[in-house]
């Protein structure tokens, strides 16, 4: 785990470029360092190189979806928290999504996502 005070590093996995850029801007302004991946395969590779403090994972993506990527990542790095961030409610019924620490439905208002990130990182620090 990173030292307290050091910027937390978040990996944002998102296939839509405009959203990737938006999330990067918004989350950098919250004081996080942001890594980006455009699908599950890239995410798995990136985590191998440098495990982040938290992952924000879209589900529907080309090449490899977020549920599969999360399974692969958590098998190796079981303590990295993952927030599923999808436009769909329906994946909540999929047991594979229960592996995540939180499930946030995409919204133009990013306050829920930001609150979850800070809640999980605080909890992780205190653990």
């Amino acid at each position: 785990m990173r030292d307290i005070g050091k910027m937390a590093q978040l990996l944002v996995v998102e296939d839509e470029r405009s959203l990737r850029e938006l999330y990067q801007l918004e989350l950098e302004s919250e004081g996080y360092e942001i890594l980006l991946a455009k699908d599950g395969i890239e995410a798995v590779e990136l985590v191998e190189k440098s495990p982040p403090d938290l992952i924000i994972m879209d589900i529907r993506m080309p090449r490899m979806d977020g549920l599969e990527a999360m399974g692969k990542i958590l098998d190796r790095y079981k303590k990295i928290p993952v927030i599923i961030h999808t436009a769909y409610q329906g994946y909540k019924d999929n047991f594979l999504s229960w592996n995540a620490d939180a499930y946030v439905v995409k919204s133009s208002d990013m306050s829920e996502l930001k609150a979850k990130i800070s809640e999980i990182l605080t909890h992780k620090k205190n653990r």
Partner: protein, 406 residues
Amino acid sequence: MILDWERQPSPRDLLTLILAGGQGERLHPLTKDRSKPAVPFAGSYRIIDFTLSNCLNSNLRRIYLLTQYKSQSLDRHLRNGWSIHNPELGEFIEPVPPQRRFSTNWYDGTADAVFQNIYLLQQQKPALVVILSGDHVYRMDYRPLIRFHLEKKARATIAALVYPRRLSSFFGIMQVDSNQEVTSFVEKPADPPAMPGRPNESLVNMGVYVFNTETLVRAVIEDSKMDSTHDFGRDVLPALVQGGGIYAYFFEKEDGTTAYWRDIGTLESYYQAEMDFLQENPPFDLWNPNWPIRSYHPQVPPAWIAPREGQVFNSLVSSGCRIHGKVIHSILSPSVFVGENTQITDSIICNDVTIGDGARLRKAIVDKRIKIPAGFVVGEDPEADRERFLVTESGISVIPTGTLFD
């Protein structure tokens, strides 16, 4: 599928997972070429047949066996003996080796075996999951257990063998309140806690569980993130008990005496459990028409005993055997040939073994397809036996498959 507590679950609401991946190291060399559930038992059976027969007789017909090590002979046995369900009716018995969908590892503990197969639960979406072990010998109707689980509106229910307290130190023991809700777990306690109101008995965890699917999925996911042994009895259930809603179903005979349940862990317990079935009143009735124990039976003629010199006392003799000698208090699997002037006592002889003229076997386990030469003797001189074979503490000699004699 939504769980309706008020009605009886239909077979489609229930999915059964049989944990059949144990390496069975302490049963070596019987597990040299096969997994523990595939080890021959009581002449014409394999250990797995008892659990599968319990399922069949309890109307559990949607079954995955989570297999792992050396599963080929188990697979073949399932195909030959247990291809009896109709997939068109949604029934199946299907072996599932590690798929390594996400994991790069094999099953690491019983809870990990379930964790790695969450996608099967996702596909089937049962209301309840019954979890069983593939290496126990017992006769149990799971229907009252499932009814109990529904009546208690439990999150999970654990079958608890009501067992003499003084003999319970080798097991995982549960403590319960007056409503049979589990309050704590202790693994192999020196001084096992007693049941409420029954000071001489304890509640042994049998490794037989009913879970609400949701509870199960959340529990194994949680466990997957822990540094634990990923074992239901040691890790998952003790953690679940903290949250309440975990109940113990008492497994005992109707007259309140101890029911038969054996975890076939060691060569000693394997041998003893087999010998139990030679008693005049066996632990449970293999002849019970209402509770048939199913197996694969090879197409061989009935056992034949030679006139005059062929003699059989207190033994289980399977089809296809030909006996020219004396068989006393022993168990013979199908197609064993026993030569003239032989004496086989207190022994277990597996399929297709030939025993040459004049051989004497005492307290021996002879695995499949061995040719015992004429005049061979085992079980009379423990020192000599130890030089040739594995001999257990109590003096059981084990002759493994592939042994050649000159």
